[in-house]
Symmetry: D2
């Protein structure tokens, strides 16, 4: 008996990844799909332009598209909506008692909304109890971060824990799938780099510090580090590559940093199906990580770190890579949902006493 | 009557650019070509795999390939050799009385070898008078910087002059033509990023500080700034894009930085044919510069700067772009030669008294 | 005194090419620009997302966008409109006395509308005298072919003239710029081929036979050849490459075919500014033509043919390449206009007696 | 107890695919690896530049590289050698009693060497009994076709069987992985098409007709069809796309062709691990097959056909796609080996009485 779940924004790139990742999931079953009004009256197979390399599951292709309203929807909703639509729709589902596991940026920085990576700040989930929806109907909203923040934060977390991080410099080379479909025009990216992604640097900086911050009472106190992000789009289908420099709170040797990554296994023993055995993989080849070769480590859920070397400006520099639509979007949300199950907050969604 | 010049390494990517740029040059005429022994006995048109978008000039195609020896070579030599071959051959030509205008990295960091961008540090050319070759035969070696350093240094020079620069962070996204031909394998770069270019970060850091340094007696004192470079290869044919953050010596407003770039015209009035009217072009569109759209500004000789905005870590951040095989290689050498002509050091090569 | 011209659809990819090609044109001056209603009230520089490698001319950037109505428009109009909009707007301009030089597919196959490549079928221009607009106001519509047909037809015309062509097989690999902007999504073409372009095969087959046909009275009798086209989209910015096999009317040797191309110069002596000296260039290198290396031959107006070899099924096979937005679109229309000038049908637009 | 196998050419792209595909194979175990002399004395993990998206299996990484000699090699050898090396080495292994399952072109067209696709012409394997190696030592050579022929032949076989095929026209768009590593230079293929692959058209034409031919006594009589191939390289990592037109022996309707493909299951019931359930998948979407989306059908072993429509020149035209390094190389050889096992010719290699 798998928990029936719904997907808001099911026809987009992240929606498609949800369907791909949830096919054969041991705990969840895709049972309800909604997208824009254009999809009304169709089955999913006719509403979607499927763009993934594995075939659309036949069972899901036959599911009817529902209106994007809570009536009749399951109590667990994965949301893959544009921010402005999310801002309107997600509260309606939370108010109706749904657990909304959102990939949208709309509410990530709200003080009562947890922004969570299970390996990094699972304790922030406590914030859901502050949400009025939760108190009234049992529903709530939980978010995962932007696709560019998530690999970086996975790489930084074990360093923050052991040595502290005081300054972070990052320059990204982001894949086109991060912009959805049709997203980036081919004339803009073939043989080209676009050194701008709207609002991305602001999101990346704010979310990184919130994720690495401490839960203090009813709020998260962000990590007290200075940070600067440069965000660029490159001609890569999937996988965000990031050049990172950091200043540590206390000095560390190369081996100590590598050990921090190797030993980082905060979900060990929890048996969450989507969790990679090793969330951060360190590779020693001088020219890795590379998106085409490393994005699928940990079934797309691991961050790969390489090229660790001293930085002439801060302390250390390295490259980190992660899959932007698996670990950076749909997989992140599924792992959040699995964590909520393991904490007893999802199955069934329990109204607090 | 144009000065006859020779090209060492004429069949490579940079050698081809020399031929393209010197076709119709008012001062120089390609008269002598040499490459590896494989080319022996052929005419250039049969020895080269021409890879540029403009056709190989017929006159040059018919030139015979010469042995890579000074006998019979013109007294002005453009050199586009791999570093290890340059280390062997360039001194032979300098010793034979040739002015060797080199694009190679072999001698750039030698104390008696000027590493020059005409708009940046023309005064460093005085170093040639310290070279033993110069004293004995009149010959000398002058070098231009690595393709990744040149755009950055053009953008930094007017800032250094007006405000000082104390720290430099740069992350590059470099075109494949920088690696020559065949160079980067397509399987390594299609849909991919390679976060490593051998020795590139070291060269970029050292050369940048030497170029921005001061000539003190018989040596260049490098700029006293901290610097860190991350070098990456992306799927772009031509044009290196760089994300840059800088710390200034004294505070500056955005307008002041833009003015520094706009007013930067150190070669004004010199009428050097290859010199761009505006060496640094500042663009205001939020998503520029881009390699495909901006690399040909100033006929490939201008650096384009955009996205100037405050940096959360240092003071300001921006993106700079330049054409790596024109401004970053062959065009840089031609401009060096033009500067030498204007200083009376090339036509004819004058043995000092 | 240059003839003032207007551009309908000025902000699209073909509209931009018109502006680029007409900058410094000796006969025409861009004086009036119109696009969709979104552009209303803006100057061109604010209405357009300029995507070409050469900068937008400042004079044109400052031109106001006009409403897409004949009032106040020049009498010579280059039209770069989508077919459905062209079907509505072009007749209005023709009825108002304008010479409409159209790149659209809307009317190409109408019996009274000439579909013209100046080197191929200039005599078909006589059809404009049959147009009712022409009789009433002096206005008319002239069209150029689809970007995929034009290179093929240039290559076939000298063969048809000397040997006849009875069967044509062609498989295309077309650049993304042919689909306009934003056009092809990057997720559809990075590392991919799309073996389908809507209506392209039908247009390519019908237009090719009309272009190579004979003017018989008031109609064009298409070439009596069998033809089959496969149209594919590949990850190329500019330049359509086509694999072609043909069956001849009478046998020809390789040298005879090459001679037919080399000697093809139907516009010789006409001094049309946009006309390439050699409309079809034959190259002997075994791996050419290639879009990146050959598309700019003849300033983008020549078709390049290579790999001529016997065909196991028909008689001969070869590869042809042409620039799809210069020779295949804007340049084709400009050359049509130049031909009309040389025939006395454009300057000023003369109402027939 | 799995059969131990060896791989000749283990470090190349096809060699890597062998290792990837044989990891976890139920019948075969990679036990011996050889490559060029450069690899001597190393373990595989140090000798190879692993370029696949799945990690190199640790057990294989630790295997020592052997000299490319039959002494000590297993009796089943997968060979992924360049043709000239294959011509020298493969006979040595066959003479030493090895079953050489070759992906090389060296001997494909020899009359006593079977060129086999298991779904197409399994009966041609009888040719091995004519080989002198077989008679003397039990060893033999079996080959699979060129990567460009294999998808085409899979699509044609059911049509040949039911309707006959008299003429075949094909134009390919081939992936860069078909050229090995480093193979195609990035400067040759970024934003480009190369309309030439050395000897590819000749191989494709000859192999297609041999594969579809009839075993007559000691030779294969090739299919009596006319054929013409155009071979092109495009910027795709994996997956060859082919535009095909065919003339049938007797007329067929669209539904009949689709049925021929749908019902094509010649290996049904044989339980070969590498065999796809459906060797030819017909897709109805108007813009498919596409390499990025369809190459992994049948775990990379199915050919995908789409766009079936009438041809203006022959009878029907369509697009076929297959994975060039799985179905077109390593997977083809593994399936050949599986077929040989099922026929009792591999386990152990039996010397004929």
């Amino acid at each position: 008996m798998r928990q029936k779940i719904g997907i808001l924004g099911a026809t987009g790139m992240v929606g498609q990844r949800f369907i791909q990742l949830l096919e054969n999931h041991p705990w969840f079953e895709v049972a309800w799909l909604a997208a824009s009004e254009r999809s009304g009256g169709k089955v999913y197979g006719d509403a979607v332009r499927w763009k993934l390399e594995t075939p659309l599951p036949e069972r899901v292709a036959a599911l009817p598209m529902s209106a994007a309203k809570p009536d009749g929807a399951p109590k667990v909703i994965f949301a893959a909506l544009d921010a402005d639509i999310a801002r309107e729709l997600e509260p309606k589902f939370a108010a109706a008692g749904c657990a909304v596991i959102s990939n949208s940026s709309a509410f990530r920085m709200e003080s009562s909304i947890p922004l969570v990576i299970p390996e990094v700040n699972a304790d922030h989930l406590a914030l859901i109890e502050n949400q009025n929806w939760r108190k009234r109907s049992g529903g709530y909203i939980v978010t995962n971060p932007n696709c560019s923040a998530i690999g970086l934060v996975l790489a930084l977390k074990p360093i923050v824990e052991r040595f502290g991080v005081e300054a972070i410099f990052v320059s990204t080379m982001q894949a086109v799938s991060g912009a959805g479909y049709p997203g980036v025009a081919s004339l803009d990216i073939l043989g080209n780099v676009v050194p701008f992604i709207k609002n991305e640097e602001e999101k990346m900086e704010a979310e990184t510090l919130k994720l690495l911050g401490q839960l203090k009472g009813r709020e998260v106190e962000p990590l007290a580090a200075k940070m600067s992000a440069h965000c660029n789009r490159v001609a890569v289908e999937d996988g965000h590559t990031e050049s990172v420099s950091i200043k540590l709170g206390k000095k560390a040797k190369k081996d100590e940093l590598v050990a921090a990554w190797a030993e980082f296994a905060p979900l060990a023993g929890k048996d969450l199906p989507m969790a990679p055995v090793q969330p951060v993989e360190f590779v020693t080849a001088e020219d890795r990580p590379q998106p085409r070769l490393d994005r699928m480590r940990g079934a797309g859920m691991a961050a790969t770190v390489g090229r660790l070397r001293p930085c002439g400006l801060l302390d250390w520099k390295f490259t980190v890579l992660s899959h932007n639509t698996i670990r950076g979007a749909a997989g992140a949300a599924v792992l959040n949902a699995e964590l909520l199950v393991s904490l007893g907050k999802l199955d069934p969604v329990a109204v607090p006493a």
